[in-house]
């Protein structure tokens, strides 16, 4: 039983990270209608910034706050300078800009801070003895912290979208950009805010995942997380925040359980089997579990 619980906890923790990054992807999609391929590397870059600040003897919370700020600014700038001019012309062009950012940001991080693996301090207690026992399994402080961050963020996002003016404007732009502009919404500002918000969420995901990741902070940390997060976002429906969270958790738990219990799959087909299950579910619900099916007049 304790083995099962350990695996469940591990799966939920990984899943929370996927969910965080998936939330960032969904926020971008709702605004611009595109999947931000560079989301993982942007999160990586801001995490490097946070790490660098901790090496300058600044407290970890300050570093995280700064990383969130940098993520917001970078996201907004990217949208304004790189995405907006190209989005008008061509869907594929946006994808290539994102791919260019993907390579560029990764290399820039390597250029500025070196490619060696770095140790990232965790904002939550994660020493050997900072755990509570649940049915024989250990729940460590940092896992609890990640869950807490996810729940907190979900709460904030719900508040934002439901009770603030900015949130209302964002929902309007996501629904129908032209009508929103006609109704007086400053669409361009909203788009930039959307990307900025996703940059900040990505930064949060990055700083939370790196203390837990096998390789700590290295240039390859975010790639597989990004793939799982994209799958999670798509699985849950690209325009559904709840779907992204559910998707992330499901993928995390699936991966842990499959690796643990189905030995013929083992660790070498971990990503494949999780993704395959997603594909099967997409067959049943082609726009994702919680996605809205668009009705289009032909």
């Amino acid at each position: 039983m304790d083995l099962f619980l350990e695996r469940l906890i591990s799966g939920l923790t990984n899943g929370s990270i996927y969910a965080l990054l998936a939330l960032a992807l969904v926020v971008v999609f709702r605004g611009t209608g595109t999947l931000n391929f560079a989301q993982g590397e942007l999160a990586l870059f801001t995490t490097f910034v946070a790490w660098w600040l901790t090496t300058q003897s600044l407290p970890i919370w300050f570093a995280i706050a700064a990383a969130l700020g940098v993520g917001f600014i970078m996201g907004a700038l990217i949208e304004r300078l790189l995405i907006r001019p190209v989005a008008k012309r061509n869907d594929m062009a946006v994808l290539i800009v994102a791919l260019g950012l993907f390579t560029g940001l990764n290399s820039l991080a390597g250029l500025l801070w070196g490619s060696e693996t770095k140790i990232m301090p965790s904002p939550f207690p994660n020493g050997e003895s900072d755990f509570i026992s649940i049915g024989g399994a250990r729940l460590y402080g940092d896992a609890l912290g990640v869950w807490g961050a996810l729940i907190g963020l979900m709460g904030l996002m719900t508040l934002l979208f439901r009770f603030t003016k900015v949130g209302l404007h964002m929902r309007a732009v996501a629904d129908n950009a032209t009508s929103a502009t006609l109704a007086g919404v400053r669409t361009s500002r909203i788009l930039a805010i959307g990307w900025g918000l996703s940059g900040a969420i990505g930064a949060l995901a990055g700083v939370l995942v790196t203390p837990l990741a096998p390789q700590q902070l290295s240039l390859t940390t975010m790639f597989s997380i990004f793939i799982a997060a994209s799958a999670a976002a798509l699985f849950g429906g690209l325009d559904s925040l709840v779907g992204a969270v559910v998707g992330g958790l499901v993928i995390g738990v699936l991966e842990a359980m499959l690796t643990g219990y189905v030995s013929v799959i083992g660790g070498s087909l971990q990503q494949t089997s999780a993704l395959l299950i997603i594909v099967v579910i997409l067959f049943a619900k082609p726009t994702g579990l919680f996605g809205t099916t668009k009705l289009v007049r032909v």
Partner: protein, 437 residues
């Protein structure tokens, strides 16, 4: 009584002969004399010759002016720092040699081309290095790269020396006479591990194996399985390292006394932290030899890493145990003076040691018939028995016309969490006798 003595002497004779053979190459630490070089060189000449070369004259042509060593290496991407340090170490060592006048007046130069760890680019790079840059010796990093270039470089008869890989196929001297690898074979390393374990657990024990799914990880796992054949060690559980936490949970339930990490540098810390978190402290934890850096891979895990064992063949300039070693002091001073940014980094030390081995090859090659040429360099490489000053005393790098394993001995070190440093964990274990046929 007489019959007894006859039996005993009959048994003793082969043992003596084998013993003499075994002690022949493994424990020599000095450089070989010209006389024995001549004898060994003629054996090497039967293996390495210019007959199948595309350009036999070019292979034998004397090298004058500059000797170029060409690298195809991932100088961009996640391995950039590590590779950068290796090359810095090599350049520093060559600079020291050039200051002394080079190899009989021939200067040593390093040329580097980036392949981003991509085998296709490695193949193109090597073609360019050979055809355009005219390099005399090649170096590369990574088994995929060696795979991509081995045929081309063997056809062109350009030596690939001390490749940073450990693929079993290239230890075959007949098929790949122009290729040698530097990294210890996983089979050899696991053989030494098992020798050490036999001393600690004379009655055998259960082993939990955490295996990385990449080629190096699988190589170590298979090496371990081969090494325990015929012993009373068993593998009680095996788990993939894709998710270290899940692996730790699964392996803990096996109740094994020994944990072997068949992984790469990114797995060492992760696995240690994972077993700490599930509350499992095996009696013995064996880390692979490439998990050598104490500060980044052991210290952050705190007490969970205490007592972990690793095998080393290089002296560690950062370790207090080697602070008084004359070779280490000289290395630190000379490498820093010649452009090495981080002399205590294990990759820099490796680069320096490899360059040292190359200088030994070149020096002996210059004394062979025909002078310094690609052919004599390869012949010298095939008959090397040299202990670089930065190798631990008692460990040398040996190649002969019958074996191409290089490093056949290790010294175990144990991590002491309280001191945040490695301490010597035993004597040098040398299994070269098993490989010298």
């Amino acid at each position: 009584m007489k019959r007894f003595l006859r039996v005993v002497s009959a048994a003793a004779l082969p043992a003596l002969v084998l013993g003499a053979c075994g002690s022949g190459s493994g424990t020599d630490t000095g450089s070989t004399e010209a006389g024995s070089t001549g004898g060994a060189a003629s054996a090497a000449a039967s293996v390495v010759n210019a007959d199948n070369c595309a350009d036999p004259e070019g292979v034998k042509a004397p090298i004058t002016g500059t000797l170029k060593v060409g690298w195809s290496a991932p100088t961009s991407g996640p391995l950039a720092d590590a590779v950068g340090n290796v090359i810095e170490g090599m350049r520093a060592r060559f600079a020291v040699e050039n200051a002394k006048g080079g190899i009989g007046g021939v200067r040593l130069e390093v040329v580097v081309k980036d392949d981003a760890f991509n085998p296709e680019r490695a193949k193109t790079n090597v073609g360019e290095l050979i055809q355009k840059e005219g390099v005399h010796v090649l170096e590369t990093f990574g088994s995929g790269q060696v795979d991509a270039i081995a045929d081309d470089q063997n056809d062109a008869c350009v030596p690939l020396l001390f490749a940073q890989a450990s693929v079993p196929a290239y230890r075959d001297i007949a098929k790949f006479p122009w290729t040698t690898e530097y990294l210890p074979s996983a089979d050899v390393e696991m053989g030494v591990v098992v020798e050490g374990l036999k001393k600690k657990y004379p009655n055998g024990a259960k082993i939990a194996l955490a295996a990385n799914q990449t080629e190096s990880g699988q190589g170590i796992a298979n090496g371990l399985k081969k090494a325990i054949e015929g012993t009373n060690f068993t593998i009680a559980a095996e788990a993939p390292l894709t998710d270290p936490r899940t692996a730790a949970s699964s392996l803990k339930s096996s109740g094994a006394e020994i944990l072997v990490n068949a992984g790469v540098t990114t797995d060492c810390l992760a696995l240690t932290q994972a077993i700490g978190r599930v509350g499992w402290k095996p009696d013995t934890v064996i880390q692979p030899s490439n998990c050598a850096d104490g500060a980044t891979l052991y210290a952050p895990a705190g007490d969970a890493a205490d007592g972990q064992q690793i095998l080393r063949w290089l002296k560690d300039p950062a370790n207090a145990a080697f602070a008084d070693d004359a070779a280490v002091k000289e290395y630190l001073q000379q490498s820093a003076a010649n452009g090495a940014d981080s002399p205590t980094n294990s990759y820099t030390v490796n680069g320096w040691a490899i360059a040292d081995l190359m200088v030994d090859d070149f020096t002996r090659a210059a004394k062979l018939e025909g002078g310094l040429s690609r052919l004599t360099i390869m012949q010298a490489a095939r008959t090397q028995d040299y202990q670089p000053p930065m190798f631990i005393d008692g460990i040398s790098f040996t190649m002969s016309p019958t074996q191409a394993y290089g490093v056949l001995a290790f010294q175990p070190f144990t991590w002491k969490a309280a001191d945040k440093a490695f301490a010597v964990g035993g004597d040098v274990i040398d299994i070269s006798s098993q490989y010298d046929k």
